[in-house]
């Protein structure tokens, strides 16, 4: 009878997309077949890939997107509470990115333009269902609210940069991106 190989403790990883476009998660999936050896080393907790709704204790939390509404802030705090290390993935998490282009406009003007004035919509008025999280006055990057341990710039960060960050962390190294992997666009 063969004894089973001693199980290596897998790193538990949670991911989420706040005020982002899921482009960073798509870029993550662009690591392609490397996800198979990766799954020998990590297991996913809360993530759009698992559809788990809340984050349990994790080694690593990867956050895409900035903060544009109250729910984003709650989710971010849940990640900070449960994850040993947090990574800000992509331009929106790091400086607000595209959603932050509304920051120099008045929020009410924006909502009225979209839901009342703009042609082609049903003019149903600004949504006010209590289940909808309230928008923040301005979009903010996540480091303004919780401590972030590592940053991965890019719009999106290339799959190779995400791979480099994960393999560096798994090997116990401080992640470092060289020329070509580090870009803001």
């Amino acid at each position: 009878m063969n004894a089973p190989a001693p199980a290596v403790k897998k790193l538990r990883v949670a991911t989420t997309s706040l005020a982002g476009c899921f482009g960073c998660h798509m870029s993550f999936l662009d690591i392609d077949e490397r996800i198979i050896p990766l799954l020998d080393l990590i297991e996913f907790d809360r993530s759009p890939l698992t559809d788990i709704k809340h984050c349990g204790p994790c080694d690593l939390g990867i956050i895409e997107g900035g903060l544009c509404n109250a729910e984003n802030v709650h989710v971010l705090r849940e990640f900070r509470k449960n994850c040993k290390f947090l990574v800000a993935m992509g331009a929106c998490a790091i400086n607000g990115g595209l959603p932050a282009q509304r920051n120099h406009l008045d929020l009410r003007d924006v909502l009225e333009e979209v839901y009342q004035t703009e042609a082609g919509l049903s003019h149903g008025g600004i949504p006010n269902d209590p289940e909808l999280p309230l928008p923040l006055n301005q979009v903010h990057p996540i480091h303004e609210v919780v401590k972030i341990d590592y940053f991965l710039p890019g719009c999106p960060p290339p799959a190779d940069a995400i791979w480099k960050l994960l393999t560096d962390l798994l090997a116990g190294r401080t992640p470092s991106l060289g020329h070509g992997l580090m870009h803001y666009d």
């Binding site: 990057p141 303004e144 991106l177 020329h179 870009h183």
Partner: protein, 237 residues
């Protein structure tokens, strides 16, 4: 050249011509000192402070300090690069620097300098200042969201083009800005032209030619190919 006219830059002996600044001598010998407001064609402005070096143990701007025989200059030490990175982070939070939607991305000195200094986040809280865009000119777009107040356009327009299209004015962090010298304040009401030196001097994405956006694909832009420290020449910033 007089053989005694040399100084030490990170331990390397650099010859210089009397009257040259430290950054001029370094650039002539292909050595990169990070900088933003200095341009080889113009007199130093000395405002961005990114080119700060340590000369015999004391901080100084390498664009305004004359090279002197025997001085010991520190450049790419972790102490100086850490301070430069902090300055860059301040530049990034003071303006609206959104690289993914900027036509200058890949050819931008601010961005390339930030890559070189391994700036991965803005660190500070963002200001998101409300800055103007001037699209009045038929050939040129001005997007002041990206202005870093290097004043190169002011100098180029005055000294090369003889036009004085731009000037710097106002007070305070968010009040100080580049003004257009026309009654309306619009670029269309000046004699600014695409052929002006000032039209191609901007190190960031403020002064942009219209109808040329994103002409060079990602991967082939200036700083896609080589990092800024490997593209030191006396012709380009």
């Amino acid at each position: 050249m007089n053989e005694t006219n040399t100084f030490l830059l990170d331990g390397e002996e650099i010859p210089f011509t009397p009257g040259q600044s430290i950054i001029q001598a370094a650039t002539e010998h292909g050595i990169y000192i990070p900088h933003l407001c200095w341009h080889p064609e113009f007199k130093a402005h000395g405002s961005c402070k990114i080119c700060t070096v340590k000369v015999n143990g004391r901080f100084g701007s390498s664009c305004t300090m004359a090279a002197q025989a025997g001085m010991n200059v520190e450049n790419r030490t972790s102490e100086l690069d850490d301070k430069r990175r902090t300055l860059l982070q301040m530049y990034f939070v003071e303006g609206n620097h959104f690289c993914p939607s900027c036509e200058k991305s890949g050819n931008c000195s601010l961005q390339a300098t930030a890559y070189e200094l391994k700036m991965v986040s803005p660190h500070f809280d963002m200001f998101y200042p409300d800055r103007a865009v001037d699209a009045s000119h038929p050939d040129i777009l001005l997007d002041f969201n990206r202005c870093i107040m290097c004043s190169l356009c002011v100098t180029a327009s005055r000294e090369v083009d003889g036009k004085n299209v731009f000037s710097m004015g106002g007070r305070g962090l968010l009040g100080r800005r580049i003004h257009i010298s026309s009654e309306s304040g619009k670029l269309a009401d000046t004699d600014f032209a695409l052929t002006d030196r000032a039209a191609s001097i901007c190190p960031v994405g403020v002064i942009l030619p219209k109808r040329k956006g994103f002409a060079v694909p990602i991967g082939e832009r200036k700083y896609d190919k080589l990092p800024i420290n490997l593209q030191v020449s006396e012709e380009t910033p």
